[in-house]
Amino acid sequence: MEQIFFWSLAIGLLTAATAVVVLRNPVSSAVCLVVALVFQAALFVTLEANFLAAVQVIVYAGAVMVLFLFVIMLLDVKEEARRPMVWSKVVAVGAGVVVAILGIPRLATSFPASQKTLVWGQGKTSGAAQDLGTLLFASYAPLFLLTGVLLLVATIGVVVLCRRDPGT
């Protein structure tokens, strides 16, 4: 069961991510990114991080992607023009792909802990909102407050950056 879910979700995630990078139209890229983020949320569920999966869908696939689509609509971005192929670049990308396919699985399995197998229901982390909230508001309360400051700074920064006539 774990195998079926992992392999189908992994293939879906990598396909959607490749489509984000390859497609020419920014709107198609944004939609493929939404699909990739939802696949990742499903992978979080297979890792028993249920609350994070919900946050991923609401914040990433919801809010952040709506922001992207709004800006695409606002700017009326055209499809990117095809550039002439440069052979040195094609060779470089091909070499990178080969090195990644050969190297990454070997690197990922080189840690002693990476041999641990996934069995559902036997994880020590619950991933429930209650446990995450206890940790967030007890051990990491100062960081949580700093996050509020960060979001305030971001909001003010966006307002200042997008003002039409600065200085008045």
Binding site: W7, Q40, V71, L143
Partner: protein, 104 residues
Amino acid sequence: MIFSEITLGHYLALSGFLFIIGLAGVLLRRSLLIVMMSLELLLNAANLALVAVGRFQGLPDTQVAVFFVITVAAAEVAIGLAILVAIFRVKKTTAIDSMSSLRF
């Protein structure tokens, strides 16, 4: 291979591939919008690795770290898109080749 057990290594390899795809997008694409979407892929690869290590090693703290990464990513997208809109007003394009006025 399909029917062998899923291990932490599987998840770390998937995270690595996702990171490489995002890195390729950052390096190869010329539209600032697509570069920012690829940056999101990079952050998500890191998130996946964090959650996987937390699940297999029994560390719930990594999920809190992912929580903060998502917050920072949301702030980063808001600021980045605001800068993009400001640049678009002046240059009328999102191509990163045109944004070289600070180049030495």
